[in-house]
Symmetry: C2
Subunit: 209 residues, 2 copies
């Protein structure tokens, strides 16, 4: 349904060719429409128009497929965190990254939750580890700038703590937001309102000018 015919006629029943892409797209669609609970190998197969056994056959199991999707999620997140530095102080940049992190979580809640559901992922998946590391590196880069560290010297303990502090703040906020723990204390404020009003104040509290 999704792809224009490439080399072959459209049903592509055998040697699909784009099966990997098709199943990743199907998974993303499921995550977007019904969250993590909406996903199953069978459902993804149905959307991709392949047999129920195809996903397990191709990816070796649910964790294989989900890890691919999570890795792409981390890559997108890293892109989101790659903020334009022009004219911004490191602190401003850090706050902007925080906004980006939470916005990513709010825009793709299913994918975001997947990315941190250890029990659903293949911990040995190389792309997943790498993509996660690259997203974290974006935060680290800003912390380095803020502490006037060059990019080649190793992080001291306090700087490393600052990286994880930054990650913890935005990650915690994102989770509380998605779990509905912020809304009911703000009289049913919408997600957008929480991000636009509460989050900047939180980031300013943690990283004042």
């Amino acid at each position: 349904m999704s792809k224009a015919p490439r080399k072959k006629a459209q049903p592509d029943r055998y040697h699909h060719g784009d099966l990997r892409i098709a199943l990743i797209a199907a998974t993303d669609r499921l995550l977007a429409s019904g969250g993590l609970e909406a996903f199953s190998l069978r459902e993804a197969a149905k959307i991709a128009g392949v047999s129920p056994a195809a996903p397990a056959h191709h990816f070796g199991g649910a964790a294989g497929l989900l890890s691919e999707v999570a890795a792409l999620g981390f890559a997108d997140l890293a892109k989101e965190l790659r903020v334009d530095a022009a004219g911004l102080s490191p602190t401003q940049r850090l706050r902007r990254q925080g906004m980006g992190y939470v916005r990513f979580a709010a825009n793709y809640p299913g994918r975001f939750q997947l990315m941190f559901r250890r029990e659903l992922l293949d911990e040995a998946h190389e792309g997943l580890q790498q993509a996660g590391g690259e997203a974290l590196a974006e935060l680290e880069r800003t912390i380095r700038a803020r502490r006037a560290l060059s990019s080649d010297e190793p992080l001291d303990g306090a700087s490393r703590a600052a990286v994880f502090a930054a990650w913890s703040v935005v990650h915690g906020f994102a989770h509380l937001l998605l779990d509905g723990k912020l809304g009911h204390l703000h009289h049913g404020a919408s997600t957008d309102a929480l991000i636009d009003r509460l989050l900047p104040a939180v980031l300013l509290d943690v990283w004042p000018d």
Copy 2:
């Protein structure tokens, strides 16, 4: 009657009397032994020694039972956050609360995760909302002290942001810890090591003396 030493004979097959308690204990045991995935109504019933339909009958469904357990979890968390103030500055108290929060998550990971799994809980459960509010109030109390606010004046926006900033930091750290996102960046450091070494540095970064 004469054969029963207490009010109830011990097998208690009908009108169990302690069914609520027994099922909560069973759920806690499942969460402790195998995490959230280990829980099912049937398994809880088996451990409690009752019929498979009993939990749904008593609690109206899985969400009812899980919400009770989550509410008790929030009550325990609030207790953990009720740190002894003697001789501590508000900032020191805040850091100590942060340690308590993360330690709670690390000691009871299954229960902690349950407490924030919106889709598993009954959002209308009164005890759950209340217990959650009480845990948050412990953080709020310390923020008030730190900002020299009396306990009766309403929180201004910046103070409220400070409360959520505090919650976000410790909540994010706890989640990252449980999801294994901190460990693999510290060469497989144990949970205890991360709590004892990394966490204090993170808290000091956010709330320096």
